[in-house]
Every structure is written in structure tokens, then in C-alpha cells.
């Protein structure tokens, strides 16, 4: 393993205890709400923060071992750190920034070319757009020839317009790296797009680690389900007909799930597993909710609806074919296999 980390650190209202391993060329995303301890992990890896206890080894070299009183200062750890607001030096031009920590054998000009910022070499950094600033910051971090790359909310400083473009750029850059990358974000979609493995962190603890698809397929807790985009409905579960579990929802409805469960549960349903029809369909779905459309938002080629307590995502084509509009009564359906039961 190229990066191995173990740390314990007291924060204001909880103790962060994190353990993770990231292989060469792999990207690990720590996802969680703000204040969950994500940045603490990055600052510890970079040496900007000395944790209460911990151990960090990168490429076989020990950077931190509180037990053996090893704690290399940041300048002796080969990290590439992309700060949230990029932290470009305002007194230096673009090439001055990239050159700041460049390893002697790195061709800075070639790096500028690779990041398509060669034409900006002499530009002041405050004259750059958000996307350009990110490319400069990334080039600067990689010029150091780091053994590990740390990305702190790499897309948060961008407006929604440039975000998607920068995200796919970043994805390409990460795919070409042979070092481990640790990425921190509060946005599961960003994590899913950029990372091979995602750890959901809350109050300093990693609740679950899996591939993005694995997290969605089998969230281990209501928090993970809701964080990855599921709608949560609370209710009481009991064994029901056909070997299914019957859930009496607090909202007054009854739903069936293939997951086993008993007692208080949260029922998690992902919006893309909910289908919409005008009339009660004769299909394989066993769960149906007939309710008016509360809201309808277009997101590019998709439409996101709220029908009663459910969120649904359908293609823009289907929505216009059905002529869906706010206020109209429709039937939202999902299969028992899509109804995930999470004990409370």
C-alpha cells in the first residue's frame, strides 16, 4: 500500500479516529458534512497538524509515528496539497507559483503546457478564472513530484457552470497519476465521479468504505443512504406476505421490501429507482404512491420530481411525453428490491 494512515485527534466536540489505506494510482474520497474532520485528515497527512496520536507511512517511508516520536515537518513530506481556495501566491505570476516548490528534475514549462496554462505563464493569479486557478494550483502541487496528492474540496470554489467541466478535467488528471490521492468533499456526486473508493465520515469516524456503486447498492446506515442521495422514510417493519417485509410508514402508507427487518427502520429509496406513471401501472413494482407532484426541477437531460414523500428522477424525454406538471396527481412506483431497509 502506498499510503497508510491511522490517526486519533481531539476536535472541538468529538474525537476523530480515522484509518485508511490508498494504493498507488488510486483515489480515495472522504465524504461527509462540513465539520466531520475531513480537512483534519489532510492536514495531518501533510504535517500541518500534529495529531494526538497516529502513524503515517507513504511509499514505505514513515512520516509520522507518535509512538516512536517521528514527525517530519511539512517541507520534508513529499505532498501535493490542493487547498480549497487554491492558496495561490498573489505576489507571484503563474509560472512563479508553479516553480515555487518544483523538484529540480521537473520541466515546469512542459507542466504548464500539459495543464493548458502555458499562455498564462506571466499572468497575475488574481486575473485568472476559477478553472484556471485550479489548474495552476494543481500544476504547482504536482511540480513538487509528490508521493501523495491531497485535494481539499477541489470543486467547491467553482460556480456550477465551470464545475462539471473542471470535474471531468480533474478526473483525467487523476487517472494519469501513479501516486495515491486523497480527496475530501461534502458532495457525494463529486466523490463518485472522481474516486475509486469512498469513505463516508461523520463526527470523525468513517461509517462505511466502498466503491461509489457499492455504497449506493448497500448503504450500511440511514446516514450513508441519505448522504448518497436516497430519500428516507421512517416506519415500523414486520414480516409480511410472499416472504417480503411489510413496513408501516409513519406517513400513513405501507411499503414492501425484500430486505429483512423488524421494528423501527428507515426505508431508503434512490430517486432513479422510482418510476412515474399517470395511472396505476400493471408492472412488477409492488410499491405505489398516488400523490400530486409537489415540485419539478429540470437538471439538464433529467427531471427531478417530488411526489408525496418520494423523490423521483426521470429523463426529460419521459417527463415531456407524459406532460408532467406541478400539482398534477401521478403514481410513483418502486420495486421491493429497491426499498432498502436500514435499522434505526
Amino acid at each position: 500500500m502506498a499510503l497508510d494512515l491511522e490517526l486519533t485527534h481531539s476536535l472541538r466536540s468529538f474525537v476523530a479516529a480515522v484509518e485508511l489505506s490508498v494504493g498507488d494510482g488510486a483515489t480515495f474520497a472522504l465524504v461527509g458534512p462540513s465539520g466531520a474532520g475531513k480537512t483534519t485528515v489532510l492536514r495531518t497527512i501533510s504535517g500541518l497538524l500534529a495529531p494526538d496520536a497516529g502513524r503515517i507511512a507513504v511509499a514505505g517511508e514513515t512520516w509520522l509515528d507518535t509512538g516512536r516520536h517521528i514527525d517530519l515537518p511539512p517541507e520534508r513530506r513529499r505532498v501535493g496539497y490542493l487547498f480549497q481556495e487554491y492558496a495561490l501566491f498573489p505576489h507571484l505570476d503563474v509560472i512563479g507559483n508553479v516553480r515555487f516548490g518544483a523538484a529540480s528534475d521537473v520541466d515546469v514549462r512542459a507542466l504548464l503546457e500539459r495543464f493548458r496554462i502555458a499562455h498564462l505563464a506571466g499572468a497575475r493569479v488574481d486575473a485568472l478564472s476559477g478553472g484556471e486557478r485550479q489548474r495552476v494550483a494543481l500544476a504547482r502541487a504536482l511540480a513538487r513530484d509528490p508521493a501523495v496528492l491531497l485535494l481539499d474540496e477541489p470543486l467547491a470554489a467553482l460556480d456550477t457552470h465551470t464545475r462539471a467541466a473542471v470535474r471531468s478535467e480533474l478526473r483525467e488528471v487523476l487517472a494519469g497519476l501513479r501516486i495515491p490521492t486523497v480527496l475530501v468533499t461534502h458532495d457525494f456526486e463529486d466523490a463518485a465521479a472522481l474516486a475509486d473508493e469512498v469513505g463516508v465520515i461523520v463526527d470523525g469516524r468513517i461509517l462505511q468504505v466502498d466503491t461509489p456503486a457499492g455504497l449506493v447498492a448497500a448503504p450500511a446506515s440511514p446516514f450513508v443512504a441519505s448522504f448518497t442521495g436516497a430519500t428516507l422514510l421512517h416506519g415500523t417493519a414486520a414480516p409480511g406476505r410472499d416472504g417480503l417485509t411489510e413496513v408501516s410508514l409513519d406517513a400513513g402508507l405501507t411499503a414492501w421490501s425484500t430486505d429483512p427487518g423488524e421494528g423501527r427502520v428507515a426505508l431508503g429509496i434512490y430517486p432513479w429507482e422510482v418510476s412515474i406513471a399517470r395511472e396505476m401501472p400493471a408492472d412488477t413494482a409492488v410499491n405505489h404512491v398516488r400523490a400530486p407532484i409537489v415540485s419539478l426541477v429540470e437538471l439538464g437531460n433529467r427531471v427531478r420530481l417530488r411526489v408525496g414523500p418520494l423523490a423521483a428522477e426521470v429523463t426529460a424525454g419521459s417527463a415531456s411525453r407524459l406532460g408532467l406538471r406541478e400539482g398534477e396527481v401521478v403514481v410513483a412506483s418502486f420495486k421491493a428490491t429497491a426499498a432498502r431497509l436500514l435499522p434505526l
Binding site: G47, P74, E75, Y81, F83, F89, H91, G101
Partner: protein
């Protein structure tokens, strides 16, 4: 008084000697203030501790001390019978009533103007910039010289100008600690005081020089501040720095 007479009044030996003494001692004092004050200010700006508060209070003390008290304090510390007098004597350094005394008095009185402005200039730096520099391989010294110093340069320049302007007019501590010997310790302010009774025209001419120099210094601070603030470097406003003396 016509400008011709003003110029000829400045040709007097008293005025010429005072000009030389003043600029010589003030430039040395400014160099001392920059060399000692800059690291101190950086240290104070990057620490949060009781010791830091104590040091800053000590540095600011001359701002509120009556000049006469400052003079007595310098005599008590560096005078022949003072705390450090014996040590300095043993080193062959005679302090009282010579140029060294003037430099000490000016440094003592003017340094807070620089250090306070410098502390706020360093404190205004975005803390992620030094952090970024560390992750890019710069040690603490590298962070200071390659990031903090260039980014705070505008504020430091403003502080240096204020300290210089304050030092030029220094009177109370100097006359008590260094005396008023023409060509040795008599600065422009001291010369004005002496010539006030002897030759009023000379006093007036020297005053005009001081007014012009001070105005030029303050004006240059404003210009530097404006020029720097159009760039992105953080600059503490000059108005917030201590102007009482």
C-alpha cells in the same frame, strides 16, 4: 520670510551640522528598527501566547511614555551608572552624550510605530499561504523570506516611513539622554530649540525643512499604500496605526 533668506539661514553651521547629525543617526536607527523589528513583528504575528502579549506591550510602551521618562529610562539602562553601563564600559562603548545615544533614543521612541504596523501587516496575511508554502517544501525561513516578507512589504514600508517621520522629530528623550552638542548630538529638533533664542530665522528655516520632510514621508506612505492596494497584497490601513506621540 522670503525663500532666499530661508536658504541662506540653512547655510549656517548650526543648521548644516544638525542636518548631518539627524540624517546620520536616523538612518542608522531605521536600519536597527527594520533589522530587529521585522523578525520581532513576524514572531508576534504568528504566535498566540502570554509571552507574545508581554513582548508587544513592552514594545508599545514608548508610545505612551512621556519623552522625559523615556530619557530617564535610557539613562538608567545605558548610562555610565545605569544597569548595562558597566557592561558597555567594559566593552569600550561609551553611550551617553554621543551619536550612539542619539541612535538609541530615536530607536527606542520610533520603533513602536514600525513594529505595530508590521505586526498588523503580517497578521493580515492569509494563513493558508504560509501553509501552502510549507507543503511546497519551504521551511520556516523560506516561508518568511519567500512569502510573508514580499506579501507584507507594503505594510512594512508604511510602518518604516511612520517610524522614520517620528524619529526625525524626536526631542525629549534625545535631549535628556544625549544632550545637545552641536555636530555631535544636536539634531534638527534640538537645534530649533536652541536657535529659537539665538537666531529665530535659523529655527524657522529648520522647522520648514522638518515640515517638508515629514509631509513628503507621509505622502509617500499614502502613495505606496494606494499603489500596493491596487495589487492584491494585504495592507493594513495606515490610519489604524499609532499616531499619538
Amino acid at each position: 520670510m522670503p525663500p532666499g533668506e530661508l536658504v541662506s539661514a540653512l547655510q549656517s553651521d548650526v543648521a548644516k551640522d544638525a542636518l548631518v547629525v539627524t540624517f546620520e543617526t536616523n538612518l542608522i536607527a531605521l536600519a536597527l528598527i527594520l533589522l530587529l523589528g521585522t523578525p520581532t513583528a513576524y514572531w508576534a504575528a504568528t504566535r498566540r501566547s502570554r509571552l507574545r502579549d508581554l513582548v508587544v506591550t513592552l514594545i508599545e510602551l514608548p508610545l505612551v511614555l512621556p519623552p522625559a521618562v523615556a530619557g530617564i529610562g535610557l539613562l538608567a539602562a545605558f548610562g555610565r551608572l545605569g544597569l548595562l553601563g558597566g557592561t558597555l564600559d567594559a566593552l569600550g562603548i561609551d553611550v551617553a552624550f554621543n551619536k550612539v545615544a542619539v541612535v538609541l533614543a530615536v530607536t527606542f521612541v520610533a520603533s513602536p510605530f514600525y513594529v505595530r504596523t508590521a505586526v498588523s501587516a503580517f497578521e493580515a496575511l492569509d494563513p493558508t499561504l504560509p501553509a501552502a508554502a510549507r507543503t511546497l517544501g519551504a521551511g520556516p525561513g523560506g516561508v518568511f523570506f519567500r512569502v510573508a516578507l514580499p506579501l507584507a512589504a507594503g505594510g512594512l514600508g508604511a510602518g518604516a516611513a511612520l517610524a522614520f517621520a517620528r524619529g526625525l522629530g524626536e526631542f525629549g528623550a534625545t535631549i535628556m539622554f544625549a544632550g545637545s552638542l552641536q555636530g555631535v548630538t544636536q539634531t534638527l529638533s534640538l537645534a530649533i530649540y536652541e536657535q529659537f533664542d539665538l537666531d529665530f530665522d535659523v529655527a524657522l528655516a529648520i522647522s520648514a525643512v522638518l515640515v517638508a520632510t515629514s509631509a513628503a514621508t507621509l505622502l509617500s506612505v499614502k502613495l505606496v499604500t494606494r499603489w500596493r492596494s491596487t495589487s492584491s497584497s494585504p495592507i493594513p490601513s495606515v490610519a489604524s496605526s499609532p499616531l499619538s506621540s
